[in-house]
């Protein structure tokens, strides 16, 4: 009988932010698949999972480089899906772990799409995880949205028109992965008089997290890939 695939969100960094369900399944399954962004580089998702559950899993490392070039990614997703399908065909259940939540900007959805083509039947269970916006809000002690407010998540790599439109139209806006694009977004915030209505977070939930309400300080530092910027147009109360 073919194994079952679990897509498990391990949350934003702190192993204590795994859910009871994620922990139960990680203890139960023998086979763990995790993504790495560079060969030889440790998997962040694996470090978080191993921080919460001690187990000698059989592992499959899936090399999924951080590139926006779909033609390159296609091949890596396909290779990863083949590795997972081999495990499932052998009758073993298997968990794919992902930083944050499997449904929000995660590689998991691409893998499932590829697997559905490879395997005639595929049993999947998804375990949600805490997303980076939620941990940023918790650590900065701000509300992401309240009452009738809207809340928009957009990648920091969006074009500048889209960013301007988002800031004009919605109450609360979070930009994901702004490490590189912060220097383009910051002037737009200044122009719109929003630079004091924002908070920047980097590696929120990790032991080396950095949080700042002072965007001038943020502009002057080296910024990590795992960083986000939250703009609350009504200001922080």
């Amino acid at each position: 009988m073919q194994g079952k695939l679990y897509g498990i969100g391990v949350g934003p960094g702190d192993p204590e932010l795994l859910t009871l369900k994620a922990v139960r399944i990680l203890k139960k399954i023998d086979y763990l698949c995790y993504p790495i962004s560079q060969p030889g580089k440790p998997s962040i998702a694996l470090e978080i999972a191993a921080g919460a559950v001690k187990k000698n899993w059989c592992v499959a490392e899936l090399y999924l480089p951080m590139t926006r070039d779909d033609s390159v990614l296609e091949g890596h997703w396909q290779e990863a899906a083949l590795k997972i399908s081999d495990i499932l065909r052998s009758g073993q259940d298997c968990a794919f772990i992902t930083l944050g939540d499997p449904s929000l900007y995660s590689t998991f959805v691409y893998l499932v799409r590829k697997l559905k083509v490879i395997l005639a039947e595929l049993e999947v269970e998804i375990v949600p995880g805490i997303s980076s916006p939620n941990i940023l809000a918790a650590q900065a002690q701000v509300s992401l949205a309240e009452g009738e407010e809207s809340f928009l998540i957009i990648p920091g790599i969006s074009d500048l028109d889209k960013i301007g439109q988002a800031l004009d139209s919605f109450d609360n806006i979070i930009f994901l992965k702004v490490g590189r694009t912060f220097s383009e977004i910051y002037p737009i915030l200044q122009e719109k008089g929003l630079e004091e209505k924002a908070v920047f977070g980097e590696r929120c939930g990790f032991s080396d997290e950095y949080l700042s309400f002072n965007l001038q300080d943020v502009a002057q530092r080296q910024r990590d890939y795992l960083s986000l910027l939250f703009v609350k147009k009504g200001g922080f109360k």
Copy 2:
């Protein structure tokens, strides 16, 4: 010494979706505050927490009615904040539990604002929880957003212009609490040819959860307050 206030997200319904951190703190603290929407009605947040942790907490029930009338709410928040401040002043730590996440459409932020006025110093720690959009996505096995897509959360009670604008401008839109307003939103989706690019979820994460990709079915049923509608403009792959 004054006690510390924890704002704990108990997630979307399933006690297994509490985080390890939420469970650790709920086991440790002696005083638990929880909201009820009607006198005599059980607290959903308490039922979830008690499903994960067995403990005889000292409890403070906070009556926070579901109304959009701020003048009515103000008094209830103030009363709730006074109850919490009494506990903290007695030197006891205290946890306020909330459905989902404390930073996303939760009463917790209002309570903290009131408490900051009452108490000269206030020590707060927020523990994020899984939000309803994430459990809807997990259960329906759809992605909320991927790649460079945008993701917007808006309350179902937003005005129709705002709803139309959201559907025109963004890739993925989730409407919260659409129990009553579904009948107004559904015709807009039909008009825009989006009725087959949507999934409706009710009480996701609870044992009586209901999910449907067929909005005609949804239109014909009695809908719960805890319901959401996710529209994926690119369609589900």
